[in-house]
């Protein structure tokens, strides 16, 4: 177990074009960190640099207080779980799990106890003699995790491990990974593009976009106070509504005759162009009222527990989440009040959250 420090890490493949523009994060001992972002944002590259599979162009990575920039992956005391499992197809489950131990010269008895213990945790006992191709996707993924566990490494690195599984299995494995982390308490870094995985698994999450860290924080903190338009749009489903407008007399004119008052602390240094963000779940249906949004309902998506009401305010599309049966009829006029304490204000030009 160890803490991992990433300082000013940058990566480029061809001179001058940076894939990762300087990442500074320190990950505490035993923490479960999720790196989340759209594909191509550099999250896997960052993970692979921690693993030692990619060279570090600039900056420093240290694991357990030791700088590992020039340390071979095998000597970094980390274990990695790959998206496509990367099990050795010709070896049995037992051999797959014990391969790393055998190379490191562990005694037969020691290997046996470690593998059996991991197999017990992961409920792989009956499959130890099988080949990977005789296992289901979920079982293969468990073997891949078993291969990591037996090593008892300082940190687990997960590279989108659930992406190849079907939806139901993904939920199940998510819970298992959570349970595993509680039992073992090993520092874990988990890369995913799925914000649900990020929200449910992380102690803290790192939201990345285009090689830049947009925000680091606990999932609920990120949800409650996204640091930028990107984070606000990426975390939460369906995505946050954005209403761009210009500031006049301390209010934002978002079009369609709607004016949203800026909170007092923001009044003084608000830029001219402000984007107001409101999550679909924070639009509440209401009766007549002054500050209510009214718009004609264009589409309804009924999801069962909830229904999504789609419409437009001015030219901007808007989504509201209502209780399943409470959806208004298509074509009727919907009326929603904004929860003032749930509004988010961003500088339209820089995309940054406006802070008091």
């Amino acid at each position: 177990m160890a803490e991992i420090r990433i300082q000013g890490v940058r990566k480029s493949y061809t001179k001058g074009t940076w894939v990762i523009h300087g990442v500074d994060v320190s990950i505490g001992d035993g923490e479960f960190i999720v790196i989340v972002g759209p594909s191509g944002c550099g999250k896997s590259t960052l993970l692979r640099m921690i693993a030692g599979l990619e060279t570090i162009t600039a900056g420093e990575i240290s694991i357990g207080g030791k700088i590992v920039n020039d340390v071979e992956p095998k000597d970094r005391n980390i274990a990695m779980v790959f998206q496509n499992y990367a099990l050795y197809p010709h070896m049995s489950v037992y051999d797959n799990m014990s391969y790393g131990l055998r190379i490191r010269g562990f005694s037969k008895a020691d290997i046996e106890t470690r593998v059996q213990r991991a197999a017990k945790i992961l409920e792989l006992g009956p499959f130890l003699a099988r080949k990977p191709r005789e296992l289901s996707g979920g079982q293969r993924q468990r073997v891949a995790m078993g291969r990591a566990i037996v090593r008892e490494p300082a940190a687990f690195l997960f590279d989108e491990p659930l992406s190849n599984l079907d939806a139901k299995l993904r939920v199940q494995m998510r819970l298992e990974i959570q349970k595993l982390h509680r039992e073992l308490g090993t520092t874990s870094i988990f890369v995913t593009h799925d914000q649900v995985e990020a929200m449910t698994l992380a102690n803290r999450m790192i939201v990345m976009n285009a090689g830049v860290v947009e925000q680091v924080g606990a999932p609920m903190a990120v949800y409650d106070a996204p640091a930028s338009l990107f984070v606000a749009g990426f975390i939460g489903s369906p995505a946050m509504n954005f209403l761009p407008g210009s500031v006049r007399d301390g209010r934002v004119d978002v079009g369609g005759g709607h004016l949203i008052a800026l909170p007092r602390p923001l009044l003084e240094h608000a830029p001219a162009q402000v984007t107001v963000g409101i999550r679909p779940e924070h639009l509440v249906a209401c009766a007549e009222g002054d500050d209510a949004f009214t718009f004609p309902v264009e589409t309804i998506e009924a999801l069962g527990a909830d229904s999504m009401v789609h419409g437009k305010v001015g030219a901007t599309p808007l989504v509201a989440r209502v209780e399943g049966h409470a959806a208004p009829a298509i074509g009727s006029t919907a009326r929603f009040a904004l929860m003032p304490e749930r509004l988010h204000f961003f500088d339209t030009v820089t995309g940054k959250r406006l802070a008091a």
Binding site: A51, G52, L53, E72, P73, K74, I78, A79, M80, F82, Q83, N84, A86, L87, Y88, P89, H90, Y99, G100, I103, R104, R133, R147
Partner: protein, 282 residues
């Protein structure tokens, strides 16, 4: 076929049977001739049912060889052919496996250049480079030796290319997982790459064994000592002068014997051969 008309069925079978007959008939004539006496073969028309000289002909070629022409026993020639074919097949597999591994998994200067150099040698089969190669082998003093028979034929661009293509289908993550598990390159080679290449190796073995066994021009050039003759050369050397002088019964028996090992390899390794060419175990 969806249609099921009797005429078409008949036609289909007739065409197929005719094809089989075309291929099998010469083989049958060879077999029949190998069981007759020379006089019987020379009668016109030659009988098409096996005679009673099977044991006599076969035991003579295996132990003593022909009385005219080459006199080395065919048993010895078969052994030579076997050594040559095995050495070529195994040597080609070993060298190609290692060179493909280097080309796919290591980054070194001029990697692509070397790959293309290997590839270009496809254009230079033995027949094209035979004189310089003969000169080299002769200068090395390995004429009339197994080394001389096999060494110039071992390098193989085809096999290197085949292994390269196969290695490129092995997911990169496997190599990365092995790196994290602590396996060095050679450990990865022995523990992962070689076991995964088993079926490709088997397919190549079949192809290269037959290639080695059927070598004609090269052994013809560099073997002058009868004890180093391969069976293919042996057949040629048994044929002397005019028709009447050649002991056709013995030549045919030798031809039948020469057929057996490649056929056996193909039949025994058929399953692996097909597997190696169509499927990869991943």
């Amino acid at each position: 076929m969806v249609e099921n008309r009797p005429v078409l069925v008949f036609l289909r079978h007739a065409v197929l049977l005719a094809g089989v007959a075309c291929v099998a008939f010469p083989l049958w004539v060879t077999f029949v001739a190998s069981t007759l006496t020379l006089e019987q073969i020379l009668t016109v028309p030659m009988p098409l049912v096996p005679g009673d000289q099977f044991w006599a002909n076969y035991s003579q070629v295996l132990t003593a060889g022909s009385t005219r022409g080459a006199a080395a026993p065919v048993g010895q020639m078969m052994a030579n052919s076997l050594v040559m074919a095995l050495a070529i097949a195994l040597g080609k597999i070993a060298i190609s496996l290692v060179s493909a591994f280097a080309i796919v998994y290591f980054r070194f200067p001029l990697r692509n250049f070397f790959f293309w150099m290997i590839f270009v040698t496809l254009m230079l089969p033995v027949e094209v480079r035979i004189i310089p190669t003969f000169k080299v082998v002769s200068d090395l003093g390995i004429l009339n030796s197994y080394l001389g028979l096999t060494l110039p034929l071992i390098a193989s661009a085809t096999a290197t290319f085949l292994f390269r293509q196969f290695f490129m289908t092995i997911p990169d993550e496997l190599a990365e997982a092995a790196r994290i598990d602590g396996a060095g390159p050679m450990r990865f080679f022995w523990d992962v790459v070689v076991p995964l290449s088993k079926t490709s190796m088997a397919a190549l073995f079949v192809i290269q064994f037959i290639y080695g066994w059927n070598q004609y021009l090269w052994p013809l050039l560099i073997t002058t000592d009868e004890s180093m003759y391969t069976v293919v050369i042996g057949i040629k050397r048994m044929i002397v002068g005019g028709d009447a002088l050649t002991e056709w019964n013995l030549v045919m028996a030798t031809a039948m014997l020469a057929l057996l090992p490649p056929a056996a390899v193909v039949i025994l390794m058929q399953k692996w051969f097909v597997k190696g060419l169509v499927e990869t175990e991943k």
